[in-house]
């Protein structure tokens, strides 16, 4: 949270509309005032079209989902596909809500010591406000599933048990290593955003899920924009030691948190009845799923390249983590088969 670095002037071309970091924060903040969603006002929860009913084929997972793309899932009878699909949507929403809670807690710690007049404070608070609505929206969504005819359970498993004990530690990074904490934020945001966008780009699913994902994708785009801008601004300001540490932390945090959010916990796998050997293949042993894992991080690789933490040595670590590959050309680029 130190002074703003002067704009780089290396290139002869000055991109039009390129704002200084603080101006960008102002644009994002003002947009949060005019364009935002409220969990209980902007979703017609009781619209009959949104009802969660048994045997709704719209719950069947598509190729956009890792489970849906597996040969095992495709070989199941339709009723089982629907059951698993409903559970999967609820489970991802639940982990999503847990991550948003982690984000809020860490950002709050980060903002405690913030100096007056820093536009980061305002935008971060807007983001937190939006995330509270996402939490409500996700949890209400999950609540509509549990106990419904579609999902005869009273609880959906969220993140693995160890995660809740790790949360205070992860949050505290918001104070002593905010850049690393923001990498963690991205590690939670990017994979779920990627998954949701893949589902929506393929045409969506159940209307209630679609509405929740639509709202989440829209506001998450601003949050991801902020995380990118934050890191582009602050990473170059880091000292030598932090910078070297970041080269290691970046890919490791990405992969670790990605697994927390994307890989269902043991309990969740049991609830869905995914055999261990199938689970192993889906996360991330098969050729196809390894590519899926890589594709989730195209935008992150672009960012890491921009801030210079993905040099030829740390790239080895990206490869070990299974998240190397080509950087995206722009945010939200769709990866091709050759990537």
């Amino acid at each position: 949270m130190t002074a703003v670095k002067p704009e780089k002037t290396a290139s002869a071309h000055v991109p039009q509309g390129r704002q200084s970091y603080y101006d960008t924060l102002r644009t994002l903040s003002e947009a949060s005032v005019t364009q935002h969603f409220r969990a209980f006002e902007d979703i017609a929860w009781d619209d009959p079209a949104y009802a969660v009913l048994a045997n709704d084929e719209r719950f069947i997972l598509t190729d956009a989902d890792e489970i849906g793309a597996s040969a095992w899932y495709k070989s199941l009878p339709k009723e089982r596909q629907i059951e698993i699909g409903a559970y999967r949507y609820a489970q991802v929403a639940k982990v999503g809500r847990q991550f948003e809670q982690l984000l809020i807690a860490g950002v709050m710690q980060n903002l405690i010591g913030m100096k007056d007049g820093n536009p980061e404070f305002r935008y971060a608070m807007h983001e937190v406000t939006e995330e509270t609505h996402h939490i409500q929206m996700f949890q209400e969504g999950v609540n509509r599933f549990v106990g419904s005819a579609a999902l005869d359970l009273d609880n959906v498993a969220g993140a693995p048990a160890w995660f809740k004990y790790a949360v205070p530690l992860l949050c505290s990074a918001g104070v002593w290593f905010p850049e690393a904490f923001f990498v963690g934020i991205l590690a939670g945001e990017e994979p779920i955003d990627h998954l949701q966008k893949s589902i929506m780009r393929a045409g969506g699913s159940h209307p209630l899920i679609d509405r929740i994902m639509q709202i989440h994708i829209a506001e998450e785009a601003r949050h991801i924009g902020f995380a990118h801008q934050y890191l582009e601004q602050h990473m170059p300001e880091m000292g030598f030691v932090k910078k070297q540490a970041m080269k290691v932390i970046f890919p490791v945090v990405m992969r670790l948190l990605c697994d927390v959010i994307m890989v269902p916990s043991k309990q969740a796998r049991e609830d869905m009845g995914i055999p261990d050997e199938v689970a192993k293949e889906i996360w991330w042993d098969s050729e196809e799923s390894r590519k899926r894992l890589r594709d989730m991080f195209g935008d992150v690789r672009m960012l890491a390249d921009n801030v210079g933490v993905r040099d030829r040595f740390s790239k080895v670590l990206w490869r070990v983590m299974g998240i190397d590959g080509r950087p995206s050309r722009h945010r939200s680029e769709v990866a091709s088969a050759a990537h």
Partner: protein
């Protein structure tokens, strides 16, 4: 609070995929995409995340708070579009089809002839398939076609698309054979013998004639050649451009006409910081031209220039713009007609050069003893024909205005491609969705005619590549008898000055180095031999094979 699409929009439409709320239209697949002059952001839906701005290759999308006063019409233009086309049935996110995969395993080799935007977009689309490798050929030692030799030097934002092209050309599976002419250094038959598919993306290199008396006088030039001249096209550097008379007449009022007019009327100091070619810049410094008259045969409503370009011209503070609507009034309440009316009322600053947008006027004859001294202009009136299209009809009234140069900018026209069928009327190679016959394809202007913008070639290339994939899958293309093994050597034997990727990158670096010294983005090398010389200085980076082996 929206982002706004501005002048340099090139219809590449990557922004459509980047947008998290599907608020950019028309999108590829929308019925009005092919005819739209640009894309627009729906202010009511935009969340200002800025993702589209990262996707725009031409640096056209900006947050509205950064709009300059002269860019403000774009705010209205974006709003105007969604008032007319609300796209109320849009999906939450733009739909993206799952990538089609080849059924056969390959590997397949494709040759692309022409390294302009259409060629590079085609290569990019092909390289999404790991089974395919692409070799791109071009007659000149430098790639990027009209982005380098067509886009006006004062449109540097548009030229940012070079960065996208640089990403395309550095992909695995991509090779350049630049400075190699197909039909001379290598024949079409040799290509088809070595490659599974050959795609011609050679553009439309010629222009349409005026067919009026005196059109062949000295001083009567094609705008295409003039554009090549100021942009440093090696073939056009000795064009006889005479700037000693105070008036130039340009026939046709499309964007090319506006480009030429701006360059002629611009204060040279403003061009100093661009990549305008050196010799033409010197000529413009001593130019006597005071007035550029642009003739449009129909009225203001039928003008060929696009609205974004008109906004740019209207916002230009260094040039007077006069609107002469002929006999008609400028009616309408859209951004275009509002701007034209506002321009018509603008006072003239005698210190500045002037561009006259003259409507309902056609050239009838060019006067002069072997060289242009005056142009005879006939007045037209509009008459709506049976199809409801307003047509220009001569009134018989004519007038003669003095001018030292005449530029014809009535449209590009494609030239025949050796060994390929040709439709002389449209100047294109007859094709079905890009397929000339299985194994031979076209994309870009040689396929669809000279319409659309740089990024339009992306969707155009997708269609052609789809045809190629169809043919590769169906097995209708015979396995080539030869291969590309040793092709490099063969080409080097015939054309020792062949330029590869490293060579082009060396030229690019050298041009930028020369430019940096003069405070310009680049100083173009305009001599082919010099280009080849600079290119040969490039060598493989040291340790590259070691790095490949270690895998970092």
């Amino acid at each position: 609070m929206p982002h706004v699409v501005t002048q340099s929009c090139c219809s590449d439409a990557s922004c459509v995929v980047a947008c998290p709320v599907n608020c950019i239209h028309p999108a590829p697949g929308d019925p009005d995409f092919a005819t739209a002059e640009m894309l627009y952001v729906d202010a009511a839906a935009c969340v200002d995340c800025g993702a589209c701005a990262t996707a725009c290759p031409a640096d056209a999308i900006v947050p509205h708070t950064t709009l300059t006063e002269k860019q403000l019409p774009f705010l209205a233009l974006n709003a105007e579009y969604f008032a007319a086309f609300p796209h109320a049935d849009r999906t939450p996110l733009a739909l993206v089809h799952q990538q089609r995969r080849l059924q056969r395993t390959g590997p397949f080799r494709v040759a692309v002839v022409g390294a302009g935007p259409a060629g590079l977009y085609t290569a990019d689309e092909l390289l999404k398939h790991p089974e395919i490798t692409v070799d791109v050929f071009d007659r000149l030692p430098t790639p990027y076609g009209l982005v380098r030799a067509g886009v006006a030097p004062d449109h540097q934002h548009t030229k940012q698309i070079e960065k996208l092209f640089a990403q395309i050309e550095s992909q695995p599976g991509f090779r350049y054979f630049l400075g190699v002419e197909i039909g001379k250094d290598l024949s079409h038959a040799e290509l088809t013998a070595r490659y599974h598919a050959v795609v011609y993306t050679v553009g439309a290199a010629s222009d349409k004639p005026l067919n009026i008396p005196g059109d062949d006088h000295a001083g009567s030039l094609s705008a295409t050649d003039f554009v090549g001249w100021y942009n440093g096209h090696p073939d056009k550097q000795d064009l006889a451009v005479d700037l000693s008379h105070e008036r130039v007449v340009i026939v046709g009022n499309g964007n090319v006409a506006l480009d030429c007019a701006r360059i002629l009327a611009e204060q040279p100091t403003r061009l100093e910081s661009t990549d305008i070619s050196t010799l033409p810049f010197g000529a413009l410094l001593t130019s006597k031209v005071r007035e550029v008259v642009i003739l449009g045969r129909r009225g203001p409503n039928e003008a060929a220039f696009t609205v974004p370009e008109l906004v740019g011209l209207a916002g230009h503070t260094g040039i007077n713009v006069v609107v002469d609507p002929g006999d008609g009034e400028i009616t309408g309440d859209d951004v275009k007609t509002r701007l034209l009316r506002e321009l018509a009322e603008r006072p003239l600053d005698p210190a500045k050069r002037t561009i006259v947008l003259r409507f309902l006027a056609s050239p009838v004859a060019v006067h002069g003893e072997g060289r242009v001294t005056a142009v005879e202009i006939g007045r037209n009136r509009l008459q709506v024909d049976a199809d409801g299209v307003p047509r220009a009809v001569p009134t018989g009234e004519t007038e003669v205005i003095e001018a030292g140069m005449l530029l014809r900018a009535v449209g590009y026209h494609g030239l025949p491609v050796t060994d390929l069928p040709y439709d002389a009327e449209s100047g294109t190679v007859p094709n079905r969705e890009g397929r000339v016959h299985p194994g031979v394809y076209v994309a870009g202007w040689v396929k669809r005619g000279p319409t659309g913008f740089i990024g339009t070639n992306k969707s155009d290339a997708e269609e052609t590549v789809d045809a190629i994939l169809d043919d590769l899958d169906s097995g209708i293309i015979p396995e080539p008898v030869g291969s590309t093994a040793g092709l490099r050597g063969v080409i080097r034997g015939r054309q020792p000055g062949m330029v590869d990727l490293a060579g082009w990158q060396a030229i690019d670096r050298e041009e930028k180095r020369r430019g940096a010294a003069a405070g310009r983005p680049r100083i173009k090398i305009v001599d082919v031999e010099e280009m080849r010389r600079v290119a040969t200085q490039a060598s493989e980076p040291r340790y590259s094979s070691l790095r490949r082996w270690v895998g970092v």
